[in-house]
Subunit: 235 residues, 2 copies
């Protein structure tokens, strides 16, 4: 389907409406993300999208059946930006770390979509499925127990989504203000944390949690021959 | 300030409006939570709250200055439901675990508020501060390094918020459907996970992640005299 004008002819712009865009999944996702950025998730309606795209609602419905389909397109668009390439090139621990940092960065830029994407079935989202397939394959190749791959990924994702919010929190979120005298332990813990150097506060909290998760999940990996030998020197 | 009628007199009910409630912080929070449950966070406006409470907007403004103040009341109301008592009675690892499970349960019932609470400064929220004080004191008593207390709490909270969403996800969220042939690793990982017994899928993912975080953070604790002796048997 095409909505373009005859080649060589300048399209006549209708008063008060943007130039009619060629409707593609990409242009629909772009319009949807702009609406969410501007007005939050509740600003995302089929009619608002049609208006933003400069098309009639019926033209939009020719491309996407309903809002759920738009959400799947958005989920896929975001998943495709998450870098899973390290699972092909690096050891498991580094690959998980690279994936998690990339995943958090993508969602820190789109926090209003977290409540949606966190509970959206992946069935019809091919690029989201491709991400999970790459990650699962990486876990499996490393020797991670089959039945623990999904809960490990879910736990990492939960941590990533929550950390994406924290990445956008105001710097003074833990300022105890006038309550400092009644919260001596927390107040001094906040001061000590803020006096430490090396990266933003959210980055340091994320790094510390990610190290713990990767280290904790690492115990499920089979030992390398070298580590095996070190653990059982008597053999 | 009181809005109650004369003692002994039955208040006359105005047509189409609920009986005028005595405005308290508790009744305001209750109305606010009901609005969010029904219509999501965007349903929470000062005028909708006044209507729900059966009072004029000006009466409501006599009790809370603005929506931000309502959000602080909500944050405090939820924080007060999180159980921190284990920090007074149990070893650090168990206390962190009890706190985290309780925290997740509270927010799994109020996921629309996560995007707000996750980035809301705690300065004017006394009960939220009391929670952080109890947790910080528990970490400190256990010997956790001062400058690592806050990032550890932030990482745990991020994991808890994300896991609260997962606790509300549909059971078929990872159904690969017609894409199963192109996602063999992920599809078999999902099957293996679902074939495992012991708790709901979200609970198992949460438990696995929480164990990893607590174990990973546990390395920052000083060794007990027994553990110290075991680690250095030559001494």
């Amino acid at each position: 389907m095409t909505t373009s004008s005859t080649a060589g002819e300048t399209p006549r712009r209708r008063v008060g409406r943007p130039i009619k865009a060629v409707l593609t999944h990409e242009s629909i996702v772009k319009a949807a993300l702009e609406l969410v950025s501007g007005k939050g998730y509740d600003g995302l309606t089929m009619s608002a999208m049609a208006k933003k795209l400069g098309v009639s609602p019926s033209a939009l419905y020719n491309h996407v059946t309903n809002k759920h389909e738009v959400l799947i397109l958005i989920e896929d668009h975001l998943a495709a930006q998450v870098d899973v390439s390290a699972f092909d090139t690096k050891p498991w621990k580094e690959a998980v770390s690279d994936w998690a940092w990339s995943y958090r960065q993508v969602f820190a830029q789109h926090t209003p979509l977290i409540p949606i994407v966190a509970v959206l079935p992946v069935t019809d989202a091919p690029r989201t499925l491709a991400m999970y397939e790459a990650v699962s394959a990486g876990f499996r190749r490393a020797g991670f127990p089959q039945e623990r791959i999904v809960p490990a990924i879910v736990a990492l994702e939960s941590f990533i989504f929550g950390s994406a919010y924290d990445a956008t929190a105001p710097a003074d979120i833990f300022n105890t203000g006038a309550s400092a005298p009644s919260t001596p332990n927390f107040t001094s813990a906040v001061s000590s944390f803020e006096a430490t150097e090396g990266g933003s506060n959210p980055d340091r909290a994320f790094g510390m949690g990610l190290d713990a998760l990767i280290g904790g999940f690492g115990v499920f990996l089979p030992l390398s021959p070298e580590a095996e030998a070190a653990a059982h020197p008597a053999r």
